[in-house]
């Protein structure tokens, strides 16, 4: 699997990573080598084999829907890069018009 520079740039965009041209070029090389190695899986016959997403035997644990104490507002905001009026302050996400 040989990735192109455009593909690597596209993946970086999907992953929200601002990479430099040098980084894109380096990751193209390294990711291509890793994916080349991963080609080994293609020789496996997995016809009719179900995928394993989780190994624990228990799924869909249900619990009574009872209110429990949660973290305080001060605790929740204690690591925020910016706060205002007891809320997280974030960059504008919609145009003001």
């Amino acid at each position: 699997m040989n990735l192109t520079l455009a593909e690597v740039a596209h993946i970086a965009g999907l992953a929200r990573l601002a990479l430099t041209e040098e980084e894109i070029s380096l990751y193209r090389e390294q990711l291509s080598a890793i994916l080349q190695y991963a080609q080994l899986l293609q020789e496996l016959d997995t016809e009719g084999i179900p995928p394993t997403a989780l190994v624990s035997p228990t799924h869909c644990i249900m619990r009574p829907d009872e209110p429990q104490p949660s973290m305080s507002r001060d605790d929740l905001l204690s690591n925020a890069p910016a706060t205002a009026n007891g809320l997280f302050q974030v960059p504008l996400i919609l145009d003001q018009r």
Binding site: L3, V8, I11, A12, L14, A15, R16, L17, A18, L19, E23, Y27, Q30, L31, A33, I34, L35, Y37, A38, Q39, L40, L41, Q42, L44, T46, I49, P50, P51, T52, A53, L54, V55, S56, T58, I61, R63, M71, D75, L76, S78, N79, A80, P81, A82, F88, V90, P91, L92, I93
Partner: protein, 490 residues
């Protein structure tokens, strides 16, 4: 004997008899850290004040008549597990200055048992790596040879234990991150069954593979720690409700089981001898298997035919899960924020500046594997391979009780040796990954030294919730050989 050289069990006996106090014991380790950690760099944060306060409390609890195997025992915690009020960095710049407002369930359990927390140990960034070289802060050194890595990602914990700067420590193991550094540092490291220990408060790397495990200087000490942290937690829906056995007592074979390891069936898989292995490692593991046989175990050759697919399957599944888990680091609610010209650019700048090279590489790899059009050929294919790997173990454990292999293909490598080649670094975990994919349990314990006097690790694997039989085999081997008594000339 200096206090820091005691085993956890010996230190506990002295505390129980009132010959020493926890404050004395804790101060002795803090003094040791102050001197030796300048060379080793195992700790990212030392919480000296908190440790002495906890030691005082432990002494008071003992005077009041309380007794637990960890009451007053100083322990180190990998810096990816939250302790309320103590910074968690995960070895990353993106969490620099982050102070969690809650503690992990394992921390609550340790504190309830009266353990003294010495501080937070170095890790590869977000537990991604095999050497601690991916830590954004510094590289930890191997106490057996300062030019060499301690292994990773729990390299700080393993170096702290082996360097006599903690009696035991917690690490986390997603693909070998407890066992591989334990092997490199001559310690015992347990990867419990998936679900045996709560993951609440462990920063997520790959949620279907992550498990917290103990690192200690011998099997019994590791078993004691496992007994305290194991058990169901309503806050982790994947945690098992199975009762927790007495692991400490479980290290000894039950009465009537016969002498030594009579009746124990030990499987040896041919697939765990690969090209490029260090000959001395192969030889030491062969000798260890011969010792198990001398102790009465029956050695049975087995096959785990899908072993070679574990590495490629792991390096698609773990990055895929990581790319989803690490999406939360967007500079909005906690961690680094680098303001860009708009919100999208703020995300991109924050993440590019906050994450190091290996984490970036794995996020990219995972994003690729999950991408529309590639999902079936990569991620889904890897999950199907994971099923085949599990089935290999299911079939093997119908014939044997434990499986014995090397923990790593080589002993500790030099700092810088593998940093330019990610794929070669990944191969350091080639023998440990399968256990995480299959969700089973196992451990690494010392089984000799190479010609450079570097420790070699023996890996013993058991079926899901088979910790006791693994501990029995490991403990009997340890008693018969005594490799764990060797210590670095530090």
């Amino acid at each position: 004997m200096p206090l820091h050289d005691l085993t956890l069990e010996q230190a506990h006996a002295l505390l129980q008899r009132g010959e020493i106090s926890s404050v004395e014991l804790t101060q002795a380790l803090l003094d040791r850290i102050a001197v030796k950690d300048k060379e080793i760099s195992a700790y990212l944060t030392v919480t000296a004040e908190g440790a002495i306060a906890a030691a005082r409390q432990a002494d008071a609890r003992r005077v009041a008549g309380e007794e637990t195997p960890l009451l007053g025992i100083p322990i180190a915690i990998k810096d990816i597990i939250h302790i309320r009020g103590v910074p968690t960095t995960c070895g990353s710049r993106i969490l620099e200055g982050f102070v969690p407002a809650f503690s992990a369930t394992v921390i609550h359990r340790l504190q309830a048992a009266g353990a003294v927390l010495l501080g937070k140990t170095n890790t590869d960034e977000f537990a991604m790596g095999s050497s601690t070289e991916n830590s954004a802060y510094f590289t930890t050194r191997n106490p057996w040879s300062l030019e060499r890595v301690p292994g990773g990602s729990s390299g700080g914990s393993a170096a702290a234990v082996s360097g006599r700067m903690a009696f035991a420590a917690l690490g986390s193991d997603t693909g070998g991150s407890v066992r591989q550094p334990a092997a490199f540092c001559g310690a015992v490291g347990i990867k419990p069954t998936y679900g045996r220990v709560s993951r609440y408060g462990l920063v997520a790397f790959a949620s279907s593979l992550d498990q917290i495990g103990p690192i200690a200087r011998n099997v019994m000490d590791a078993a004691i720690l496992l007994g305290v942290i194991a058990g169901h937690d309503p806050r982790d829906s994947t945690s098992s409700k199975a009762p927790v056995p007495d692991y400490q007592a479980g290290c000894w074979r039950p009465a009537g089981a016969g002498d030594g390891l009579n009746g124990l069936r030990v499987g040896t898989p041919a697939e765990y001898l690969v090209p490029g292995m260090q000959p001395r490692v192969t030889a030491a593991v062969r000798e260890a298997i011969a010792t198990l046989e001398k102790l009465g175990a029956e050695i049975i050759e087995i096959s785990l035919p899908h072993t070679k697919y574990a590495l490629p399957a792991y390096y698609l599944i773990a990055p895929a899960e990581a790319s989803a888990n690490l999406a939360r680091y967007d500079g909005m609610r906690y961690g680094l924020r680098v303001l860009g010209q708009d919100v999208g650019n703020t995300y991109e700048q924050t993440r590019a500046q906050g994450f190091g090279a290996e984490v970036t590489r794995r996020i990219m790899l995972g994003t690729f594997a999950l991408r529309a059009g590639y999902y079936d050929a990569y991620y889904l294919k890897a999950q199907k391979a994971r099923t085949l790997i599990r089935q290999d173990f299911d079939a093997a454990f119908e014939r044997v009780d434990v499986i014995a292999t090397p923990t790593t293909p080589t002993t500790a490598f030099r700092v810088g040796e593998k940093m330019d080649n990610p794929l070669e670094m990944y191969l350091a975990d080639v023998f440990t990954l399968s256990m995480n994919l299959a969700g089973i349990c196992g451990l690494s314990l010392p089984c000799g030294f190479d010609d450079q006097s570097l420790p070699i690790g023996l890996q013993l694997m058991g079926p899901a919730l088979g910790e006791v039989v693994v501990l029995q085999a490991a403990h009997a081997y340890e008693q018969a050989t005594g490799w764990h008594k060797e210590r670095p000339a530090l």
